[in-house]
Amino acid sequence: MKDKFITLRSTAVPLPNENIDTDQIIPARFLKATTREGFGDNLFRDWRYDTENNPVTDFVLNDPTYSGRILVAGKNFGCGSSREHAAWAIYDFGFRVVVSSFFADIFKNNALNNGLLPIVVSDNFLKQMIQAIKENPSTEIMVDLENQILQVGSVRETFEINAYKKTCLMNGYDDIDYLLSLNKEIREFDAVHS
């Protein structure tokens, strides 16, 4: 069972860079833990801290102007390595939603498998959203998963999400629960499929 996701109201953090790969989200040298917890400390490690471990003041996560549980990122977010640690780190840091105009496949799956909602919007809407947040960092954003609505200030946009994944998120279900229920069929398949 995962946390259930129904609705969320929050301010957001803008990170408009494109092609943010999972090596940036969580660099390889922090992948050595054998549990799922604590990765948030090293989220965007090399963008957040310089080589002497001092916070990089102009990086958005170090900027007190922005806060919230929604990350708004440039297109092709989460490309590269399949490390699920990237989704864990984002979640552990406190984010529950990532908005982008494009997500890499494996990251999207990993996010959905961890109760982190990836929302795809058009390039144009993304641009407007980032602008709105920059102009007014206290802009409230509302995510309504059931009705698939993303509202930024007074502007509404509907978003697509796969019906199965939506049910999982809203109920905190795991894929594994469903697969375990197929045990008998899988055994039979395994036996004849050498």
Partner: protein, 470 residues
């Protein structure tokens, strides 16, 4: 779906592995082979323990230690505590769950995507997954192979299945004779530079055309390996005689009569004449030259003699910010040329280019020559078997004489999880697959290139056009 509908190889393999297709659910896809390694498996095993379940079929699961391992003094305990703990955790888990582990020191240890094919565990027609995005490598044998996250590793360990929606299909056809100094790494870097780091997201690629047909299995693996660098879920190549000859006699491959029977089945793995791909792209091999990347994603590549684009030349204005940031990180000027630029490190290794054929290419190129004084050169074989073969062929002597260091197998500087890190600000020509910021060590700068280009650069100490190299 009617039986008669012409299908691609991908669709045939997919359909034949669906255990259950239910309304409102993704397909439950049966997985023939599951590879695991120390970094993405511990939390998955924990999940099994919490649920009190066993590994569904240990015979379909193979483990190795590769990402974290030192490439020097591998016989000693791993110095770094966290890495040691992770490898030990893998050891304990494999023992507890009865999974075969090719541990450090084992004859079969190596980078997971190198050992699967060389042991004959990777076969045509299969579905293969691993908690690692470069699982796409295995597709060179004509199978569906893709990388997954740790939650999915847990699903596969627990049920031998994964819940997946079928990706769309893309055909990339390359025809014609490749030019002098061009190898398969250049072909794939060229394709990615054309379609961008996200151009194949949502697709499963089939590589076709006579250029691909004429490649060896090792060269095909290099191509499929980097499918993920354009966002593709995976990439495959139809199996043929080259494939069957490679598999024949390998340790875990079907043997003799069984092998012949299998080959007969594998021959049927072809895309039907009228099958439709969602997207089809075509390239001419004659247009491909030795390639190099200049930026911080593998799509930012060019011919080694080209000039880095200027901000104004970018197709999409939205990319300008990221482009500038990328070049700043790399310490490069828009509009400048890389040719002749001095470098500091050369890394020959990774699941892209650390097979015996790669090492032979490099050795042939550098035999009787010496590396430039300004560079440090690491040659990291992909597996114990590659290492042993290299030594048997005397390649180690060639490397030593050239001032190259031949190390023990592992992922090494491909991702800098062990000690093998490129220092901040330094330039490395690397035969690996990712030039992301900090990939080879914090603030390191990576130029991706072929083993040939890397070897030439090691000798000259600078970015070199192999076609001019004597």
């Amino acid at each position: 779906m009617s039986e008669k509908k012409p299908r691609t190889i991908f669709e045939k393999i997919w359909d034949s592995h669906v255990v259950k297709r239910a309304e409102g659910y993704p397909d439950a896809l049966f997985i023939d082979r599951h590879f695991i390694h120390e970094v993405t498996s511990p939390q998955a095993f924990d999940g099994l323990k919490k649920r009190g379940i066993k590994v569904f079929n240990t015979l379909r699961t193979t483990a190795t230690a590769d990402h974290n391992v030192p490439t020097k003094d591998q016989h000693l305990p791993i110095k770094e505590a966290l890495s040691r703990h992770q490898v030990e955790t893998l050891r304990t888990n494999c023992k507890e769950f009865g999974v075969e582990l090719y541990d450090l020191g084992h004859l079969y240890q190596g980078i997971v995507h190198i050992i699967g094919p060389e042991l004959g565990l990777t076969l045509p027609g299969m579905t293969i997954v691993c908690g690692d995005s470069h699982t796409s490598t295995h597709g060179a044998f004509g199978n569906i192979a893709f990388g997954i996250g740790t939650s999915e590793v847990e699903q596969v360990l627990a049920t031998q299945c994964i819940l997946q929606y079928r990706p769309k299909t893309m055909k990339i056809e390359i025809n014609g004779q490749i030019g002098k100094g061009v190898v398969s790494k250049d072909i794939i870097l060229y394709i990615i530079s054309k379609i961008s780091a996200s151009g194949a997201t949502g697709f499963f690629v089939e590589y076709a055309g006579d250029t691909i047909r004429n490649l060896s299995m090792e060269a095909r693996m290099t191509i499929c390996n980097m499918s993920i660098e354009m966002g593709a879920r995976g990439g495959l190549i139809a199996p043929d005689e080259t494939t069957f000859n490679y598999i024949k006699g390998r340790k875990f491959a079907p043997q003799e009569v069984e092998f012949e029977k299998k080959v007969a089945e594998w021959r049927k793995l072809v895309t039907d004449d009228d099958a439709v791909y969602d997207v089809e792209l075509k390239y001419d091999a004659a247009d491909i030259a030795p390639m190099i990347t200049y930026g911080t994603n593998p799509g930012m590549g060019m011919k080694v003699t080209d000039y880095i684009p200027t901000v104004e030349e970018l197709k999409e204005i939205s990319e300008q910010g990221s482009f500038k940031k990328s070049l700043e990180y790399m310490g490069l000027e828009p509009g400048s040329q890389l040719l002749g630029k001095s470098i500091d490190y050369v890394f020959i290794g990774s699941c892209t280019n650390a097979r015996i054929e790669d090492l032979r290419l490099v050795a042939k190129m550098v035999k009787g020559k010496k590396k430039a004084n300004n560079v440090e050169v690491w040659v990291v074989p992909g597996s114990k078997q590659v290492e042993a073969q290299a030594i048997q062929e005397g390649l180690d002597k060639v490397f030593e004489a050239a001032g190259f260091e031949l190390r023990s197998p592992g992922c090494s500087a491909c991702l800098g999880m062990n000690e093998d890190k490129v220092p901040a600000g330094k330039y490395c020509i690397s035969t690996s697959n990712r030039n992301f910021e900090g990939r080879q060590g914090p603030k390191s700068r990576t130029f991706l290139a072929s083993p040939l280009s890397a070897a030439a650069a090691a000798i000259t100490g600078k970015v070199t056009d192999v076609r001019e190299f004597k």
